[in-house]
Assembly symmetry: C2
């Protein structure tokens, strides 16, 4: 960063400077891709270029964006892995979404007998929905009709409640859909900015988007002592305070939680819906981890299902729920597929939503295709069913095992505590940091969780995201780590982590 | 649309209504996906469902979004077409981008001898740039490094001037990149809104994005009598008027022009750059049609090349130029690949740009892959070179022939005139409409070009975009049509068009 004087000098020459650029973008933060991740990338780059490794060659996790463990981990966990050079030959069999992608990209492959018939039918259904039978054509802005219909069928099966395909909008990942709906709410009323309740800790897409849209972030704290549950009294506290200076219009719930890994109970969801109704809030249900539930006794309930089953007046509430092909057991995050189901929208507003997305033409057709694979998996009796089920179960079993391993390990480290990872793909342990470390961090103007994460990275190559990026109760320090590295790597990483932590405590004693 | 009273009643029940939603989205318009296109879709739907056709079965162009002709047309024009069910067997050979997509999606196919070695090398380079050798992983937010390097090499070859890969940001189509840079400029100064000069006629992404961002649209008229040239006097007129009520910060130039099809001369570009320098404007060069230049004597010059060759002070100006895989000879618009090259940005602002795109994680990896194919085509001596060159030349020759056919036909119709289609993929003819038609349209509160387009659609199934969606000199009426249908279909369509136009003139005489 340059000084103010430097910037003034530059301003004489440049049209666009830090002094006259969009102030909302200046204040935006996006921790999972922030300075720490950039530094991790630099370190990885050095290793890629073949220089010596300070860590004895065990740095495989360095330079992975922490968030990108998601994809790699899920994919590596597959029984029949998709792999590139080197281990291509070892790949056991073709997997559904990859086969479908290859077929729709290059339909000449339909002649290849290695592709099962039901996979070909899936690919053909997508091509039939494309203009000119080509995934290279634009689609309707909300996506291909047959895929929107498959999404609605998926939701109906999941919830035992009807879903209307015309309420479904496909998007380039869930993030794209979330921003499209969120921006509808940008409107000051009586000079007050619109506000949105979001959990603390939260996924930083929300804080970043609210900053970009100049909307007010209204944080409500999840209760770490109650497995990151969501007490209604805390919602009431936060909205009451917020009403003094902004106009609360919506509430975001992330379930299963990111970064906190909790799975909400049905009763908790009912109470949240009642609260939102009382306070006249638009419901945003971020449910991208709906297929990632591991803990005994935990079960995923969609907000849509609970709200409809509660009957009137709740079943008429406005609700947007979001899903992605980046999570679950497929983890195809680089392909950018997602959907939103938006119900009970005012018809005029619905038309505006559709108009607003049309300026971006359409979400990537191959991302739409993968979303189709997620919502329309092979059924019993279809040729791909057995392999698909085996792969899926293997991924989910392995994630479950790792969820437990991660929480158990952090709980065994001195000064750390970690709630069970009931769902999603992360642990969010709390750590008691020595006073000297806290003082040093504050002297450097950073959160102690950031100081800790940088030291961890430099010393071990392990990249975590400091709790500061997600929000935490003042005076508490956390970090997010994924459960996605393969078990043997994860185990080695956790041991290295333990060693580092002990050294850190000794250093700042 | 509901009445105000209806909306008030709904407002009692809904959180979000037309009365309290984002006003910027309400005023947004996006003509190429507007009501006319929706109606065209409805008509196509009826035909899809097998009901009787009013037009004797010649309605193949109905229900194509007019803008979507682009992809379908380009793809159909290929010598070796990519096609689905029915004509799959007839496809002559595999094409570069489709082969690469299939390989990176399903690397098991590397064993298949039908894929040429250089295609495999391209696919392998992309996989090597992906974490875990998988396109399903997130990439860096600005895209895969090797592809950014290929883009920079492409620009260097094109311009004979160096390009820095770190100035290149990959995006989900050019639209995504344009919006990312444009939003940096959102900042009121001295109570004045930021303004952006855009051509009239313009591509509606610009008017829609400026409306969404609450920025001021400053239209400058292209000179239809001079082949849609860009007179500096008109730029001066528009900015002088605009300075009274807003703060002009940038100028958008679309070259080759959309919807107007002109190709700017080097001298015109030099004058525009000098104007932008005098007025301290950020340059946006929308150059997505750079490979689509048909007319004798027309040549594409990039703003980057011209600006750098002009030397100081011009070569230090801030410039963003945009490219896409949706146009050119590949036309893979559904795959959402694009890039921006942003030069001479203040380093602090550059960091902010990178931060702001990080919240959307990364552009689709398969879109990045297709962009790589566009900028890194086979070279002489490589196995794919001959087929690729043949396919490319065949597409471009056919487009050139159609560009001439379209302009010639419209010029031969009574009351129509059309500038030569020097480049891009559209004709934008002017039509003299009868006074009675104009009066009727005005009585209905619509632009006569819209009335004309709806009647054309209902009567013939042909979908054009009325000039009103792009902007036109008051009192003149135009429409945009693509040059993309196959020659025989295009010819039949143009004849149908001629018949309709004569009937229309007679009807309103």
């Amino acid at each position: 960063m340059s000084t103010t004087a430097d910037r003034r000098a530059a301003a004489a020459a440049k049209c666009l400077t830090l002094d006259n650029m969009n102030p909302n973008i200046k204040v935006m933060e996006y921790a999972v891709r922030g300075p720490l991740v950039i530094r991790a990338g630099e370190i990885a780059h050095v290793y890629d270029r073949g220089s010596s490794c300070r860590c004895g060659g065990k740095m495989s996790h360095v330079g992975q964006h922490e968030s990108e463990y998601q994809s790699d981990g899920v994919r590596r966990a597959r029984a029949a892995g998709h792999s590139g050079r080197g281990n291509r030959k070892r790949a056991a069999k073709l997997s559904l979404s990859l086969q479908v992608l290859a077929l729709v990209s290059l339909p000449q492959l339909f002649d290849d007998p290695r592709f099962p018939d039901d996979v070909k039918q899936r690919a053909q259904a997508v091509l039939d929905g494309c203009r000119g039978q080509s995934v290279g054509s634009y689609t309707d802005s909300p996506g291909i009709e047959i895929i929107r219909r498959h999404v609605a069928q998926y939701i109906s099966r999941r919830d035992g409640q009807p879903a209307d395909w015309q309420d479904v909008i496909l998007s380039a990942g869930a993030s794209d859909g979330i921003k499209s709906v969120l921006k509808l709410l940008i409107e000051d009323v009586d000079g007050k900015k619109p506000g949105v309740l979001i959990p603390i800790p939260q996924y930083p897409l929300y804080s970043a988007s609210l900053a970009e849209f100049n909307m007010e972030q209204i944080g409500y704290y999840l209760d770490e002592s109650k497995q990151w549950g969501l007490p209604i009294s805390e919602l009431e506290r936060s909205i009451t305070e917020a009403r003094k200076h902004c106009n609360p219009r919506a509430i975001v719930i992330i379930n299963p939680g990111n970064p906190t890994g909790q799975v909400l109970t049905k009763e908790n969801i009912q109470d949240i819906i009642k609260f939102a109704h009382r306070e006249k809030l638009f419901l945003f249900a971020d449910e991208v981890y709906q297929d990632n539930v591991y803990a005994e006794g935990s079960k995923f309930y969609s907000f849509k299902k609970v709200l409809v089953e509660m009957g009137e007046p709740y079943k008429s509430m406005e609700l947007a729920s979001f899903m992605s092909c980046s999570k679950g057991y497929m983890g195809e995050c680089g392909l950018r597929g997602g959907y939103s189901e938006v119900i009970n929208l005012d018809p005029g507003v619905k038309a505006m939503l559709h108009k607003s997305i049309s300026a971006m033409l359409c979400p990537t057709v191959l991302g739409q295709t993968v979303m189709d694979c997620v919502v329309n998996p092979p059924q019993p009796g279809e040729p791909s069913y057995e392999q698909f089920s085996r792969e899926k179960q293997s991924v989910l079993d392995s994630l479950k095992q790792r969820a437990k391993m991660v929480a158990d390990t952090f709980n065994s480290i001195e000064g750390m505590s970690c709630n069970p990872v009931q769902g999603a793909m992360y642990a969010f342990p709390q750590m008691k940091l020595p006073a000297k470390a806290i003082a040093k961090a504050k002297a450097e103007g950073k959160c102690p969780s950031v100081l800790y994460a940088f030291e961890l990275l430099e010393r071990t190559g392990i990249c975590i995201v400091p709790g500061a990026g997600f929000g935490q109760v003042p005076g508490t320090y956390h970090f997010r780590t994924t459960i996605l590295p393969q078990p043997e790597k994860l185990k080695a990483m956790l041991e290295k982590f333990r060693e580092f932590h002990e050294e850190f405590l000794a250093k700042y004693k």
